[in-house]
């Protein structure tokens, strides 16, 4: 069942950045293979949009991608890579294979950032993007009450989406202050319009309470969520709901770039003007170089695709456009900075590491990520610390350890490789 492959450009991630990179590189005559672990292309924002025919950005890009000769392998997760030999190990549901490359483009995107609070492990408490993804994949929310909470423009986008699918969104709890978001709001109409359709934004805002300096302190329920305890200033109330969608912004997926030896800086992959990483043959585009929304991902993807194909002049022509999207990213960052009160949310009994059920009271007295890991098993479960590592970075300032293969849990068979060592190792 093993196959070997080579592509002159391999793209990991089929979100906006990866798709744009693949299109540009293959238009430039390169043989391109795109790998993504989702069942279909589109990344986070365009999840499930592939077959839709609305006249938006997404469909235009999908159209371009369909007509370009790049090969797309979905349901394929990259679990290991060797930057020296330029070979990647890939796992699908049925098989595993290795693929060689000349240039590698990492467009691994971002994941949602979660904070622990009492009750956050109850069934039906989910990430904002998490619930949205489930709805995109067919979960009916017609008539369901969904409290949306956390921070960032994603709250509005998701609330609008839920309402479009018939849900009642009684409150959108934004932790940031009105003042800091209002500064962002000058650009809000222009930029948010691009983030999602302005019409649904208005809809979301009209019959939901979009309240600032507001956050969810606790979730209550017996076997599943029954209500969310919301706080704004001194006022606290319980909002009955079927789902609580809560997320505190996005964090770049840098594990794979780190495993491949790419240098990072303040939590994002460091790249030069052509999006090249510290590794000569590896480029990075999109959210993994910094959170900035779909436009940043697209333009970085285009630049990367051109640069990887050796068309530096064409790439350079896009620099000005990229600059604008990056400015937007900076504004975003400042407008939705997390308030210190959020550090007080977990109680001693609140689970922080959901894989191993390690509670805050156990972790709080410890002095490093490593000793927490060794003594409490925190971060030792299958998410490999992706959820709790970021939490503890925020709560205690700990930095996660180095990345080791597999970069995602993988079947043991997928960690074997064709190797002449096989026989010579036996003594």
């Amino acid at each position: 069942m093993k196959r070997r492959q080579f592509a002159s450009v391999v793209v990991v991630g089929a979100g906006p950045a990866g798709l744009a990179a693949a299109i540009r590189a293959s238009e430039s005559g390169r043989q391109v293979t795109v790998l993504d672990d989702n069942p279909s292309a589109g990344g986070q924002i365009w999840r499930g949009e592939k077959d839709r025919r609305s006249g938006n950005d997404a469909s235009a890009w999908f159209q371009k991608f369909r007509t370009c000769p790049a090969e797309m392998i979905t349901g394929a997760r990259l679990i290991h890579g060797d930057p020296e030999r330029r070979i990647l190990s890939v796992e699908t549901r049925q098989e595993f294979f290795e693929i060689g490359y000349d240039k590698l483009i990492l467009a691994t995107g971002a994941r949602e950032f979660f904070l622990p609070f009492p009750g956050w492990t109850l069934p039906n408490v989910m990430g904002v993007g998490g619930l949205q993804a489930l709805v995109k994949s067919g979960l009916p929310v017609d008539g369901k009450r969904i409290v949306v909470a956390g921070t960032g423009p994603l709250l509005l986008a998701a609330a609008a989406y839920f309402r479009k699918h018939g849900a009642i969104v009684p409150v959108i709890a934004e932790q940031a202050e009105w003042r800091s978001v209002a500064g962002f709001g000058i650009r809000l109409s222009k930029n948010l319009g691009k983030l999602f359709q302005a019409r649904s934004l208005r809809l979301a805002l009209r019959s939901s309470r979009y309240t600032f300096s507001t956050w969810v302190e606790a979730a209550h329920g017996k076997d599943r969520l029954e209500n969310a305890q919301v706080r704004t200033g001194a006022k606290v109330w319980r909002e009955p709901c079927d789902y609580l969608a809560v997320g505190y912004g996005l964090k770049p997926n840098i594990e794979l770039p780190v495993l491949m030896g790419c240098r990072t800086q303040s939590g994002v992959v460091a790249v030069d003007e052509f999006q090249q990483t510290s590794q000569e043959h590896i480029y990075c585009a999109g959210e993994c170089t910094g959170i900035g929304g779909v436009d940043k991902s697209l333009i970085e993807g285009e630049i990367t695709g051109l640069a990887a194909a050796g068309l530096k002049d064409s790439a350079r022509r896009l620099f000005a456009k990229r600059r604008k999207t990056r400015q937007f990213a900076n504004v975003l960052d400042r407008a939705f900075a997390l308030r210190p009160e959020l550090r007080q949310l977990p109680l001693d009994g609140t689970i922080v590491c959901r894989c191993e059920d390690v509670r805050w009271g156990r972790l709080r007295p410890m002095n490093s990520w490593r000793s927490a890991k060794l003594e409490s098993r925190c971060g030792m479960g299958p998410c490999q610390g992706r959820v709790c590592g970021q939490i503890l970075e925020f709560l205690l300032g700990w930095h996660p350890e180095s990345v080791r293969p597999p970069v995602f849990p993988a079947r043991l068979e997928s960690l074997t490789q064709d190797s002449e060592m096989k026989e010579s190792l036996r003594t």
Binding site: L374, E375, P405, L412, L415, S419, M421, L425
Partner: protein, 379 residues
Amino acid sequence: MGNLSLTSLSFDIVVLGGGIVGTACAREFAEAGLRTALIESAEIGGGATAAGMGHIAVMDDSEAQFALTRYSQLLWKEAAERFPPDVEFSPSGALWVAADETEMREVFRKQHYYIQRGVPVEVLDARSLAEAEPNLRPGLEGALLVKEDAVVYPPCAARFFITEAQQHGATLILGKRAVGTRGNTVQLDDGSYIAYGNLVIANGIVAQSLTSSVQLEPRKGHLVITDRYPGFVSHQIIELGYLKSAHSIQSDSVAFNVQPRPSGQILIGSSRQYGLDDSAVDMKIVSAMLRRAFEYMPGLRRLSAIRSWTGFRAATPDKLPLIGPSPEAENIYLATGHEGLGITTSLGTAKLLADMILGRRSAIAKDPYLPSRSYALHA
């Protein structure tokens, strides 16, 4: 400044290194009433101790190896009564698996050897082996069940030992590195000094940085751990070919060695490589190691692997640890060079050292482990 840092801290005995060996020693000394301090530069149990498999094994490479492992194993059994759950002591027993008739002869030889020395063992034929471990491939010849072999989680065992030591009055100095000795003092990296009556060097593979009288070779090992699959494996299972692997001095080798963790996870080893100091995971070795494991347990193929890592065993030329006075000073003791058995032999090591320092009679002969054995000129 120099005078200021010459603080008045002074102990009967100072242990350098908070791995399983150092913490076991500190506990032994403190319980014996010595004023004890342990200095650990990073975390308790974070060195080789965090990398090791935690198989409490009796081994029969040599009489000396047998004596120390068996003695230590019984000490583990005794100590286990007080272990908190996170030490994960589980008396799973070990199966040494024979793939063919030649290896089966080795099973009988071992059986004979262990019975003579009072170690409870049992030979399993092909059928009872298949019943004991249904996920082993069919067609194996049989196995030797070593009943008192056990499994622990070494970092928490080390944590438990240092906690007990502290309860007996020991001082833990964490986050400071010993950089040298002068007179009867240890110098720390923050410029301070600590005076000792006796010093125990138990900092594992890097012991050379503190004493020129040891010769240790790093022997790199790889391990892979899976998600939770309770019941998939019930014993520590090792192929008899492991012995060939453990004996080989120069070449890289892999062997089938799996361990059931109390969590239901399966820990898969093992590999040995010489002459490397790079701790990166080498997928070629992982690959070879896993292929070997699949030959014995085909069902492993589709289980989910969560993580892989490496560690270094501190190997001496004769593969026995260095336990006893260092050739360079009478009151400096060594406790290192435990190769692939330091979790097991930490407890025996602690007893022997305390016996030497306190002039007690020891339960087993100490000569085979004395550091002076490798330094015939000083002897």
